[in-house]
């Protein structure tokens, strides 16, 4: 598993880069960063919070490299400091409350858009130039040009405001208590429907086009001719041979799409006021809650890296040429 170890090392370094970025940014502005934040907060930070704020950023009276290691130490003990907006709640707690909703949103949207997009891509490639392709491909391309902001706002307008089909905010009916009950779960699904569909629409075009292109790339290969020559059915050649091989570069592309996934989920959460970590980042920026902002960046980075790691694992599983350890 040398391949996986190399990837893990790489992700470790990437995380360090994000943490270092967090460390450097407040220090690159002139003056005492804590005072700047206090000034910028427009009186929203109580003076008692100042010391907590300083501690978060490792502003202990010590040389720079000691501050750096103190900061890294606090990160690895999951201490992101105290939130200003939700004072005195720790940032980590604030984020952990919101994280499940983001995971629900991104997980569902990813599942839906990747599976449907990939399937349609297979069919569009197999029947290229014919009706399926002529409809699916330009539609996917058009969708790619529509930013998440636009999809979300249109969805909000047409289905939530104008026609009141769906709710306009929150993850579930506020009058309910979270529980594994049918009532709660159906409320979650009801509130989550528009955000999930929005995000799926944003992503589906990309997966469709990627799979279509990868399939078309396979079409001249001898192994497909052999498979067909063996008397196998069209469906079997299409899925077990062509698609199975085209899946590999599609999975690589999947990893590259995570940036769009998390970016898109952020916008969706903001527009629909969905209580995930993306929305928190937005509120944190508006409310000048710097510990929250920085903590959120690290959480999102961690999520991206873990998602990439999952794709690496999937790739090892899918490509027998890598299984050599």
């Amino acid at each position: 598993m040398r391949f996986l170890l190399k990837r893990l090392g790489f992700y470790g370094v990437a995380f360090l880069v994000a943490a270092t970025f967090n460390f450097m940014i407040p220090r690159m502005l002139p003056g005492n960063p804590a005072d700047i934040m206090l000034a910028n907060s427009g009186g929203m930070i109580a003076p008692e919070a100042r010391d907590a704020l300083m501690a978060t950023f490792g502003f202990i009276d010590a040389p720079l490299h000691e501050q750096y290691f103190a900061y890294l130490g606090s990160i690895f003990t999951w201490d992101f400091g105290l939130s200003i907006k939700f004072y005195p709640m720790p940032v980590a707690d604030v984020l952990m409350q919101a994280l499940p909703w983001t995971l629900f949103l991104t997980g569902s949207a990813l599942l839906i858009s990747f599976s449907i997009g990939t399937l349609l891509g297979i069919l569009a490639a197999w029947r290229r130039g014919q009706l399926t392709d002529v409809i699916a491909s330009p539609t996917a391309l058009a969708l790619q040009s529509v930013p998440a902001v636009v999809v979300a706002l249109c969805g909000l307008y047409f289905l939530a405001v104008q026609n009141r089909v769906f709710p306009t905010f929150y993850a579930f009916n506020p009058s309910l208590d979270p529980a594994w009950s049918l009532e709660f779960i159906s409320s979650v699904l009801y509130h989550g429907f528009l955000p999930v569909v929005t995000l799926s629409v944003v992503l589906i075009g990309g997966y469709l086009i990627t799979m279509r292109n990868n399939m078309i790339g396979q079409l001249g290969e001898d192994y497909l001719a052999m498979a067909e020559a063996k008397g196998l059915s069209d469906a079997r050649v299409r899925y077990a041979y062509a698609a199975r091989n085209a899946l590999l570069p599609s999975v690589t592309a999947l990893a590259l799409s995570f940036g769009a996934l998390f970016g898109g989920s952020l916008i969706t959460e903001v527009v629909f006021n969905y209580p995930g970590v993306g929305n928190l980042l937005y509120l944190g920026i508006v409310g000048r809650d710097f510990p929250l902002i920085q903590g959120q960046l690290l959480i999102m980075t961690l999520a991206m890296l873990l998602a990439n790691l999952a794709v690496d694992l999937a790739y090892v599983f899918l490509d027998p040429r890598l299984k050599r350890a």
């Binding site: 001898d222 001719a225 067909e228 079997r236 091989n245």
Partner: protein, 270 residues
């Protein structure tokens, strides 16, 4: 003896944005049972197009405009989907140029036998494994290699696997499209010897397609020379080699550098 395969006036076009390009112009030829017919010609003469079209494997923008492909009297071009799929591999099979490319890289060798066996009848997994082991041993590969993936075998072994696959359902004709071009000379000879041995043992015909006329002369019973979509000459191997009648055929032989005087009767020089 009636011919096993009889191709009549076959015409294959490629559609382009301009005029259609006729890759195969009204060719006709026959293959007898237990016979090796070699089809030679330079790149682009249409021989591979013919090979693929015989099993209706040709892909758009190519299309068979006209003609008949009579296999044991039935026109392959008139088969419906189910009929075609049943006929494929069980009556006619094929070996491709590069075995690395003709085996799916993500499936084990066994699986590539198994799905074919299942497509042509009901077999249990155990029966399929037994049959696969038999076939692999027939071409000189240890049976346990069936659980390997193609990239774990050498080039020569992969082509033997392709040969074993081609023979699984005991077809009457095997089409070989440049089967040895991607291999080195030693392995080339081994594979061809294998083919000849199995042909004598099991009994099948071969359509051998190549641009290497010297190789073809050694192995074929009859030879056809193709040029720009037409068969310019067709006859027994000895006749084509020693007494070619068409200018083009003669120019092909003249293009070969000689080490010494060409001996008479080069056919079956293995």
């Amino acid at each position: 003896m009636s011919a096993l395969l009889s191709v009549k006036d076959l015409r294959i076009d490629y559609l382009t944005s301009g005029e259609p390009f006729t890759a195969v112009r009204d060719i006709s030829f026959e293959i007898q049972p237990n016979e090796i017919l070699g089809l030679a010609g330079e790149s682009g003469c249409g021989k591979s197009t013919v090979a693929y079209a015989l099993m209706r494997l040709h892909k758009p923008p190519a299309l068979v405009r006209n003609g008949h492909i009579l296999f044991e009297g039935r026109d392959v071009l008139s088969f419906g989907d189910k009929e075609l799929r049943a006929w494929r591999w069980s009556e006619v099979s094929m070996m491709f140029q590069s075995a690395m490319n003709s085996l799916s890289p993500v499936m084990t060798i066994f699986r590539q036998f198994y799905d074919m066996l299942r497509a042509h009848g009901t077999v249990t997994k155990a029966q399929a494994q037994e049959r696969t082991a038999q076939l692999l041993e027939m071409v000189g590969i240890p049976a346990d290699r069936m659980h390997a993936h193609p990239h774990q075998l050498s080039g020569g072994m992969r082509q033997r696997v392709a040969l074993a696959l081609a023979l699984t359902l005991k077809p009457k004709l095997i089409i070989m499209d440049e089967p040895t071009t991607a291999l080195d000379v030693v392995v080339q000879r081994e594979i061809l010897q294998e083919v000849l041995r199995l042909k004598d043992e099991l009994g099948f015909s071969v359509l051998f397609i190549t641009h290497d006329i010297a190789l073809m002369a050694q192995i074929s019973d009859r030879i056809g020379i193709m040029r720009e979509g037409q068969i310019v000459e067709i006859g027994t191997a000895s006749q084509i080699v020693t007494a070619p009648t068409h200018d083009y055929t003669r120019s092909l032989w003249d293009a070969m550098p000689l080490l010494a005087q060409r001996p008479e009767g080069m056919a079956h020089a293995v």
